[in-house]
Amino acid sequence: MIPQTFEYTAPKTLDEAMALLASGGKPLAGGMSLIPMMKLRLATPEHLVDLGRIKDLDYIREAAGELHIGATTTHYSVESSALVRGKCPLLSAAAGAIGDPQIRNVGTMGGSVAHADPAADYPAALQALEAKIVIRGAKGERTVSAADFFVDAFTTSLESGEVVREVVVPVEQAGTGTSYLKMPQPASGFAIVGVAVRVQRSGGKITLARIGVTGLSNIGYRAWAAEKALEGSAGSADDITKAAALVAQGIDANSDLHASADYRRHLASVYAARAITAAASKA
């Protein structure tokens, strides 16, 4: 439970941080994923660059129909922010479903997406929201879609020396119903399965459906087939069941001590149906 020796720097500005990262430093945000690994010596970074003291990374702002969430914004801030609750309730629901209050008080948006845990909650919501991740590197900034950002288990499209600067999500249009439901793994709190749903209706039909799934696969993904099945339907109980049955289609489901692949797939459909029903009832 004692990590290997490391250096620690807490820069005040992002520019300073970038310089330190360029020379091999490793970002430290809330430390909720990184520190336990270091204590077991499964991770042995030589130099930690703490992003926590950088003021202009901790913010939630609205601009041009989008919400911008700074990398070091804690899960609790996202969960409790009136702005996020009002304008992107799916994201605050996902934040509120993470771990427990202690974790949410310390863990950050940037840390969670950069870590890309296959059972993390944000990826489901970010996929359903078609979020954008703004990445800062030595050469400047680039923006990638959530779909392109999450590559594999614990693997993102971040290059070395790059950091997540912010996450951008759309402000929901009036009449969009959303829901995030998860079955937590009882020991860790991570998702065995988590399903994030956004639904819009018009003229008695579902006009838009976005479904993000986490916990089931190596990365959070969008359930395209289920979305297609839902869009254009009346959103009846039967439509929902049929669509929900498709969320795990073609997925090589994870299997571990806590849930077999079959059970996970089954849960994905059950939670999808419930989340879709909940979202549709608000749309």
Binding site: M37, L40, R41, A43, P118, A153, F154, N254, D256
Partner: protein, 121 residues
């Protein structure tokens, strides 16, 4: 070819017929470790199948994998099927079910992608 296909492999050194000493670096999100071990190829029936034994140990534990690889030509490329079993021990065994399943799947996938790429070239 093997050296390039094994993810993180930093060098293979032949120690006997179909036996190699391997240095491998695993780096995955925050997890990192330098492994030393050996790779052995047995039950070769070229070109369709062989058995691969990989053993590595490090401060954070050990891995032992054994797998039967079946290569079947299909159209332009080769289809690779894998059947195997991996053992993990030491601290690594305790890092969490979530991590192990995700990671091993990914390593295997990477291996085959690379193997396929290497065999194609």
């Amino acid at each position: 070819m093997l050296a390039r296909a094994i993810p993180g492999c930093e060098g293979l050194e032949q120690t006997g017929p179909d036996e190699y000493r391997m240095k491998m670096k695993m780096a995955l999100a925050s997890l990192s470790g330098a492994f030393e071990g050996k790779v052995k190829i047995t039950d070769q029936s070229p070109p369709s199948s062989f058995r691969l034994l990989v053993e590595g140990s490090s401060k954070i534990g050990f891995v032992k994998g054994e797998g039967l690889l079946k290569l079947t030509p299909s159209g332009e490329g080769t289809e690779v099927a894998y059947e195997g079993d991996a053992q993990i021990g030491g601290t690594m065994a305790a890092i969490g079910q979530r991590l192990i399943d995700g990671t091993s799947k990914m390593m295997i996938k990477k291996f085959f992608e690379k193997l396929a790429a290497e065999s194609a070239s």
